[in-house]
């Protein structure tokens, strides 16, 4: 059976079409439900392996990116998502979806870690540019450590902020929740612009829960599934266009036929 993805829709989500296409190309069956539908029947979550929140500007990002949807998800879907997670289901958030997971407390989802938030880029404005994410140890169950995933960063509020900057970032890394960090073409972690477009603490691009089933990151691998989409059109600096699809396949692998009871 194909992995089943339930994709959330809400006012302001705008990366739904390409995310759905990416999941389908990676072999999933995708269902989309509006937040209001899901609120009235959260049991729909029982029929999915992966619950995904795409990027966008939910509710205009008023009151902070992803903030209002985060409160909605926590209030109306909290129990259903905990059940889904306890059943072995995964939760994925990209860009605005990642902001929702962080602001609802689902990521990193561990007590005792320093409080963190996602806020305005160092430049204080929206920035759209190509970036690279390096697979870190907590993501090793999906992909080899050090794998480089090229993806477009396109956000205004993608900077991880912590009370004690780099010291707190170290604590997150030690806690095993830092899944992806910005890096250069040689796979070296880089916290400087333009490699890390937001100026995120610890060059953190994405977080994962310790059990590996809640994952979120800022850049958009779903936007570039082919060589044609690369800025240098496959000349080599950004891979050959196959990396992003491999990434989605890897994320879905645990739910591919027969793996899950």
């Amino acid at each position: 059976m194909k992995p089943r993805v339930l994709q959330l829709f809400a006012s302001g989500i705008n990366c739904d079409r390409e995310l759905r296409w990416a999941f389908e190309q990676a072999g999933a069956r995708v269902e989309e439900l509006h937040m209001r539908e899901l609120t009235t029947r959260p049991q729909a979550l029982r029929d999915c392996d992966v619950f995904a929140i795409p990027g966008g500007f939910t509710y205009g990002d008023d009151l902070g990116a992803g903030k209002v949807l985060a409160l909605e998800v926590a209030k109306y879907l909290g129990d259903a998502l905990r059940e889904h997670h306890a059943r072995g289901g995964a939760i994925l958030g990209i860009c605005n979806g990642f902001q929702v997971l962080v602001k609802s407390g689902m990521l990193p989802g561990v007590d005792g870690l320093p409080p963190l938030s996602l806020t305005w880029n160092g430049s204080r404005h929206f920035e759209c540019r190509w970036s690279r994410m390096r697979v870190e140890e907590p993501l090793a169950r999906f992909m080899a450590i050090g794998t480089v995933i090229p993806a477009v960063s396109a956000h205004a509020e993608g900077r991880i902020v912590l009370r004690h900057g780099e010291a707190d970032a170290e604590r997150l890394i030690r806690a095993g929740v830092v899944a992806l960090r910005y890096c250069d073409g040689k796979g070296r972690v880089r916290a400087d612009f333009p490699h890390c477009p937001s100026g995120s603490a610890g060059a953190i691009a994405g977080l994962i829960s310790p059990d590996g089933r809640v994952l979120g990151f800022m850049p958009h691998p779903e936007r570039s599934l082919s060589r044609l989409h690369l800025p240098d059109r496959g000349a080599g600096a950004w891979g050959d266009g196959s990396e992003t699809l491999s990434f989605f396949r890897a994320l879905l692998a645990p739910y591919a036929s027969g793996v899950r009871a």
């Binding site: 006012s11 009370r163 936007r223 044609l228």
Partner: protein, 975 residues
Amino acid sequence: MSASAWRVELELEAGRADPVGDGARRALAARGLSAVGEVRSGRGYLLPEALDRAAVDRIAARLLADVVTETIRIVAPGDAPADGAKTLLVRRVAGVTDPEAHTTERALALVDVALPAGGRVESYRVFRVDTPGSREQLLEAGARALANPVIEHVQLGDEPVRRHAEPPQRAAARREIGLAELDDAGLARLSSAMGLALSVEEMRAIRSHFDAQGRAPTDVELESFAQTWSEHCKHKTLTGPVHYRLLDDSGALLEERHYGNLLKETVFAATMKLSPEWCWSVFKDNAGVVALTDEIGIAIKVETHNHPSALDPYGGAGTGVGGVIRDVLGTGLGARPFANLDVFCVGPQGTEAGELPPGTMHPDRVLEGVIAGVRDYGNRMGIPTVAGTVIRHPGYVANPLVYCGCVGEIPRSAVEKAARPGDTIVAFGGRTGRDGIHGATFSSEALHEESETADAAAVQIGDPITEKTVLDVLLIARDRGCFHGLTDCGAGGFSSAVGEMAEHCGAEVDLDRAPLKYTGLAPWEVWISEAQERMVAAVPTAKLDELQSLCTLHEVELTVLGRFTDSGRLVLRWHGEVLGDLDLAFLHSGVPQPERAAIAVRRLRPVTAWPEPAPDAAQLLLRVLAHPQVASKESIVRTYDHEVQGATVLKPYQGAEGRGAGDGVVMKPLFHRPEGVALAVGIAPRISELDAEIGALCAVDEAIRNTVAAGGNPHRTAILDNFCWGDCRKPDRFGTLVQAAQACHDAAIAYGAPFVSGKDSLNNEYRVGGVERPIPPTLLITALAHVGDCARTVGTPLRGVGNLLIQIGRTSADSGGAVASDLLGLPDSAPARPDLATAPALFAAVHHAIGEGSIVACHDLSEGGLAAAVAEMVIGASGLGARVDASRAVCDDGVPLTGRLFAEGPTRFLAEVPMARLEDFALSFRTLAWATVGEVLAEPILELREDEHVLARIDAETLAIANGVPGSGSPEAGA
């Protein structure tokens, strides 16, 4: 009654970088506020007085504040904290759209707080300023540096805050306006006093129409005529009769013509003559539609939003984007937008404050505002902003131009539409307010010194997320067959939307049903309001419930406004009382169309020689690269999400580091298909100033050339026209417009590129101290070229060491309008004229060579000529370089060195061709003008030569720095 409110203010923690505060400090200092120390920025919210402290604390901590970065300050209702004396609160003027407040009101429930009955939230901006200045100084500098007086006001934080009062409910009644007794002067006064912008002839026509019926028109009826007959909606100048004369320098008549309908006989006539089968819908809907595949079409529209952007750049440009997106949404039964473009024309950098006419904003502030407006609207809509440019010219100081375009895809079956009698008139989307009242008539009038204050109501503020929900609902509803007809509410609001849809049937409208943002609107205001984010549909009664549930799901407000009839009349009611009953035939075709005079002068300009001996090529190239027309626009493009939807397969900035300026972008809107479109613009006001005919030919050539360079098919290219001109009631202004329109016709025929849509803006003048200043004649041409296979497209960055660099197309001696010519201070001279006889064959050959893989990179020669083109190809290449020998350039006899390198004549390219493909290439170009001028080098350097003599040897990073490429000059840039 105004009431007090809780204040919740969030400020970034001390020690955290605050770029907004830093910007405010610079702006305040520039406005003369003495010794400004640190400025900290924050955001504030007014919450209803009726809430208790515990609820306000909960809202502040859980809903409003960021857990890590912000500190919370709460001020109880009626309190006036003394330490607020150095805090500026920037608040919206009553009635200005406040989407964030609306979100907050709805989100209170998420932290278990109920919004008190009648309670409202307001959001505002906060600046805490460290200054010894007085209250008055702080307020005055704040008002000028941090607020836009059209939509905002400023107060100090130690003053009690009052909520804006709700406007009083107005008792509406039928109000008739007697015209029968008025003479011409009286009619003119009435038109002016009501802000109708109707001419005396038009007022007379309306008077006789109502005299014949033995009654006076009502206010709502007069407003309907004012909207429907406005220049903005009716395009009276372009579609009316013209007496055109072309004179020579001495005043002798060279040519004389009468046009019955200028547009129909020029631009539209070319389309009719060409009539390719791939044009599915032209000049009849909100956007033109051409074929992408057999089943899917592409809808494209480009609009202008000049006057609103002059008053409020941010809101004006944002609603310009929102408006053109709605045009595409409202094309056929609905198209799905997948690309936006925008072009700004503003005054020069470094304009001194003293040079600014009274009431105008500094060009840099205008540009900053319009970029931010496009960014925030387009990004939130999830539509990539992919193409455009910025033009700097002193002629736009008082009257900036903002063009916004949108491209969408639409199933062929959804292209045709017609409202049917019996269909329900449904409005959905945003609510109606006083925003943009008289926008259609205002944009038809010239700006003047008092515009900034007098026309506040003409300003519109956008709410992109409301429009996004409209988009979501609309596309699902279209596919479920919910619409017979559909259009957007743009200029003229409901009056235009319903009036157009009812043109061939009839309609009855209950204006009192329209949902309002606030109370107190008169019926005529509801009818013509240009509040944003609204659509009107003709819905078959059987589908109404389905549409309603879709709207409920997506949180879109739907209202039944009335029904379409077969009466040929437009009946307007308010709580049952008939306030208007108009004959639709007269409304749509009764406008008198007097013949207007148009006079153009053909000036014989000398062909000025490029200077000899040639100035230093290296120095001139670096200056050219730094010129605003050539300088990198990458820093603007990066603030736009130009990759959302995953359709941008050839990007505006290209190459490994995204630094190479592209010619056209290529969009691939369908994941499962190889087809796409190349999209580009052409605009040449500097040339139009010298010669409006050549300027128009050049704009068409440039737009098509850009798409061809990217791989677009010149045999399947549609173009769009947007004329922005001065006041065309004046024969000299109108004369250059007629010249440009004729040139558009000739170019369209020659290139085989039909016009599919257009929009004009003909009152771009500024009146100050009795002097009227028109903008330069500004024709924007947008080209949309079919791409059969997106894999067969090329960018501008160099690809491979040892490849040949080939100049395609001939350089002429003309220097007129060239950037280098301006930099060298050469006198005005004739600009180069496109050769319509050979250009199409050349475009076809380039297209063929790209398709067969002979050309692997291609850049058109435009501003800065050959030298700038090769420099940009090097900048984009990251690691490769180029050698170009100017003595081998293809050119007319006797073109001196500077001309070979920097002339800007049309229809030329620089192509990169692998040695192994040279034979194939040569075969495609047999009889055409081309020559190998250089090669690709392994090191990042540009070498310009004249035979054996090295003119310039500049490393790529130096080029990038001169060009203003963001990040250039840093230690590892270009590595």
